[in-house]
């Protein structure tokens, strides 16, 4: 695969990943839904619906069942109004029924929505077998907080010869902005054998249509340094427990960083598939294959150190969470 092709894939993936952010905006009129093919209203009774402004219809149970069958074939319909969008001016006030009343003298119950939860997902803890090297990679995410606001810790890196060769650690405030999307704001620290770097981070993480898990983060560092990182994953269920996970990760830098041997522009892209077996949901060993490419000046640094700028790796590891 040429570099050009790799670029094309990376940018296409980004376009897919980021599109839902604006795709949720346009709200479509409900009326357009009636053009959906395959509808069968022939068996519906007519009657007035209490409280409705107009006459309504109600389907018989049998009618529903048949509609359901037909509707399954109505793919390709636009249903933008069902998700996302912004509230129309006449939307109801959710507090409009309170009549000015608040909770009584007894402190109201505290439900799960006010509790804090936490979790750690080690998405990849793997031995990587490259052509001329064998090392360990880790990639984890932990969070603590409530449903819509949480502290997020992300860490990814490479351990070789008992040393952190490369370690990216981020501490972020994750804030839900849409049904499937969180913004993340915080700091990033790059460590390892080379001089360390600090960054401010701003990104989005969420679930794009068709179940693509996407992270896209922009960074601003000292001395005018900028960076961008993009990750997309997909989980393809072969069976209920055997899951194929394609994954791509790409990094970009705005400025050459000689000390860390990074060129400007696209610096690296890893694209792989991992096949895991969930012994339990929380515990899944996997094997995989990954293509890891470096580009531009970054690739030159790698070649100067007598390594390959393009390589295919075999990985074996463990995915677990609790």
């Amino acid at each position: 695969m040429t570099n050009k092709q790799m670029y094309a894939i990376a940018f296409a993936a980004m376009a897919i990943g980021l599109s839902p952010v604006w795709a949720q905006e346009p709200a479509q009129k409900a009326g357009e839904m009636e053009t959906m093919p395959g509808m069968d209203h022939g068996k519906m009774d007519h009657g007035s619906v209490p409280g409705a402004d107009q006459d309504g219809k109600s389907g018989t149970a049998q009618g529903m069942g048949q509609d359901a069958g037909n509707m399954n074939h109505a793919g390709g319909m636009d249903h933008g109004s069902m998700q996302g969008g912004s509230a129309p001016p006449d939307a109801r006030d959710p507090h409009g029924y309170s009549g000015g009343y608040d909770f009584g003298p007894i402190p109201p119950p505290r439900m799960g929505d006010e509790h804090h939860f936490h979790s750690l997902l080690v998405d990849r803890l793997e031995r990587v077998h490259a052509r001329d090297n064998l090392f360990t990679e880790y990639d984890l995410q932990a969070w603590f907080g409530r449903d819509y606001d949480r502290a997020v810790l992300k860490a990814e890196g490479e351990i070789d010869g008992g040393k952190f060769q490369d370690a990216r650690t981020e501490l972020l405030w994750g804030h839900a902005v849409a049904a499937y999307w969180d913004t993340q704001l915080g700091v990033r620290h790059d460590g390892g054998v080379e001089p360390s770097r600090g960054w401010l981070a701003l990104g989005v993480q969420g679930l794009a249509p068709y179940w693509f898990e996407v992270e896209a983060t922009a960074y601003v560092g000292e001395q005018g340094r900028t960076a961008f990182r993009f990750v997309a994953e997909y989980e393809l269920l072969l069976t209920q427990k055997l899951i194929l996970q394609p994954r791509i990760e790409a990094n970009f830098y705005g400025k050459r960083d000689t000390a860390r041997e990074l060129g400007s522009g696209p610096s690296d892209l890893a694209a792989g598939v991992r096949l895991r077996y969930e012994i339990r949901r929380e515990f899944a060993p996997y094997i995989g294959i990954e293509r890891a490419d470096k580009f531009g000046a970054t690739a030159d640094y790698v070649r100067a150190a007598d390594h390959d700028a393009q390589e295919t790796r075999i990985v074996a590891g463990l995915r677990f969470w609790f």
């Binding site: 839904m33 209490p50 249903h79 996302g84 509230a87 939307a91 799960g112 929505d113 679930l207 194929l244």
Partner: protein, 561 residues
């Protein structure tokens, strides 16, 4: 919570034993690693199977931890008087009952009398009706019984209901019961997990489809593609995937962790009710599950439904009933000289509770296999797209707490629901239920309020109008008013909505009175309306009775003033 120490990781059990439970499971009567308090030892012998019946006007109920073993792994349950289910309370209409509830747990507790009309301070919801019952304390409930029928009671604190705190209430009329039967049994259905419910909640927050092992797979896709053609197979999935919705999302919690119980015993233990051939037997079905809708049938027997939620209805004869969480249905059956299986499969078809009606002890009947799970249809997501009903979404339904909105809900009550449509059996629907005597209040509604049932499955958050309880304000009903409440279900799950202290008089799509209930199951993409007479001043809870939805915030306080 002291029980949490004892909830270990899920045991590596043989699968069959886990689903079926132990033949001799339930409350541990013999040796156990936990010592049993003296009061609990008194209950030995009646502890499992059929609950002890307590009647009269004075009751002492003691809440404590009791060792149980439903699956082969000992656990601690939260019990009332040491049994699961708790004792059946038998009251008489017109009596004033006194119930002293003693808390021997190390955490707060409470008891809510589900469906009972009473002063709000006696309703038993911590933070709304009272402060709760602290460890070591006794709270005395006292109220006049103003109704008749089958009801139940349960904890309203934390997740104690999931760990065993539920029992039946039977209220006899002062005179003769218009429902005549030669014999009667309470059939109380529930779900048991060896996991700590808080651990279950955490898992759902992390991965909301954690317990769903019926998901669409690539293998199925290729199977569909070869039988239906590639484009049909793609179309079938396209919209669901585009919307990030899962058509197999039938239940949040499955038999992967649940063992389903009938009268507190696992399927292998086979709860059995005896009868004499030809007798009219009244079965009082109560769904005391935390998260499970049960589809109940008795192969070989027709069931004549005579009551729901304690309210007598015009008799209707059916083969099968879907019982929403917290609902009750009384049926009359007339068995012949043989045995019959009472089969209560979970809505997601991963398991079942089972018992037997037998002419003689030891008789059993074949146990059917659970039906194949049926994926949700587009109608379950989008409602009735030809319908002309207008909905008004709240402005808070356009944010992160809501993953979909239904603009064109369906209004019909004659849909038995997913998995029961066109199954060849006569399945009860709300359209079949007519409360005898009509509505309790002939007035029309003076006003109406519309509330939307909302959630975000991926985040596992549940709310009303996109607002969880912690961010909500109370809903005000004016004392004495008659008002219409409209629920629109903007989710793909069925929500059993329970209003405390006040009846919900369900209307049919034409606005005519249908049935009086304390708990109304609202199906996916459905709009229902009901009238309420706000005749009980005070503060009342109003919530989805799926316990994890309630605890996630699908909950409101109602102020009647």
């Amino acid at each position: 919570m002291s029980t949490r120490r004892h909830f270990l990781a899920m045991p590596n059990l043989p699968r069959r034993r886990f689903i079926q439970g132990l033949a001799a499971g339930g409350i541990l009567l013999g040796l156990s690693p936990w010592s049993r308090p003296a009061w609990a030892r008194e209950a030995v012998g009646t502890a499992s199977g059929t609950a002890k019946v307590l009647s009269g006007t004075e009751f002492d109920l003691t809440i404590a931890e009791t060792p149980v073993n439903f699956t082969g792994s000992p656990r601690l349950a939260t019990t009332i008087n040491g049994s699961i289910p708790a004792p059946t309370l038998r009251w008489r209409a017109g009596d004033t009952v006194t119930l002293r509830v003693h808390n021997r747990l190390s955490e707060d507790t409470s008891i809510h009398w589900h469906g009972i009309l009473l002063p709000y301070q006696m309703d038993g919801v911590p933070g709304i009706s009272f402060k709760g019952i602290a460890p070591g304390e006794t709270f005395t409930y006292r109220f006049k019984v103003q109704q008749t029928g089958t009801y139940w009671y349960h904890s309203h604190s934390g997740m104690q209901e999931q760990t065993g705190m539920y029992g039946a209430i039977i209220i006899d009329p002062a005179g003769t019961d218009p429902i005549r039967a030669d014999r009667e049994y309470v059939v109380q259905l529930s779900d048991w997990s060896d996991e700590d419910p808080m651990a279950v909640m955490t898992k759902l927050k992390m991965q909301s489809d954690y317990y769903n092992f019926n998901q669409p797979t690539a293998v199925q896709f290729f199977r569909d593609a070869s039988s239906e053609g590639l484009s049909a197979a793609i179309n079938k999935r396209k919209m669901w995937n585009q919307m990030r919705m899962n058509p197999t999302d039938l239940a949040d919690i499955s038999a992967y962790t649940y063992t389903y119980l009938m009268n507190g015993v696992a399927p292998a233990s086979n709860w059995t009710g005896l009868f004499r051939p030809g007798e009219k037997v009244r079965l009082r079905f109560i769904n005391s599950g935390a998260m499970t809708f049960f589809d109940v049938r008795i192969p070989g027997l027709k069931m004549t439904v005579v009551q729901t939620d304690g309210q007598n209805v015009e008799p209707v004869t059916v083969d099968e009933i879907r019982i929403g969480v917290a609902e009750t249905y009384d049926v009359i059956v007339t068995p012949k000289d043989e045995a019959y299986t009472i089969f209560a499969q979970s809505m997601d078809r991963t398991g079942y509770a089972r018992g037997t009606l037998a002419a003689r002890a030891g008789m059993t009947a074949a146990v059917p296999a659970p039906d194949k799970p049926e994926p949700l249809s587009m109608g379950d997501m989008m409602g009735d797209m030809g319908g002309a009903v207008r909905v008004r979404h709240a402005r808070t339904e356009y944010g992160p707490s809501v993953d979909m909105r239904v603009d064109t809900p369906r209004t019909n009550l004659d849909d038995p629901g997913i998995g029961l449509r066109n199954n060849g059996r006569r399945v009860l629907t709300y359209a079949d239920l007519h409360t005898i005597g009509g509505p309790m209040d002939e007035r029309g509604p003076g006003r109406e309020i519309e509330l939307h049932l909302t959630g975000n499955m991926a985040r596992y958050t549940w709310s009303i109008d996109g607002v969880e309880f912690g961010r909500s304000t109370p809903v005000h009903f004016r004392h004495g008013e008659r008002l219409r409440v409209i629920f629109v279900n903007d989710t793909m799950m069925t929500h059993p909505m329970h209003l405390h202290g006040l009846w919900q008089e369900l209307e049919n799509p034409d606005g005519r009175f249908q049935v009086r209930k304390h708990t109304i199951s609202v199906q996916p993409a459905q709009r229902v309306s009901f009238l309420v007479s706000a005749d009980a001043p005070g503060r009342w809870a109003w919530h989805c009775h799926l316990m994890f939805h309630m605890d996630s915030g699908m909950f409101r306080e109602v102020v009647v003033a």
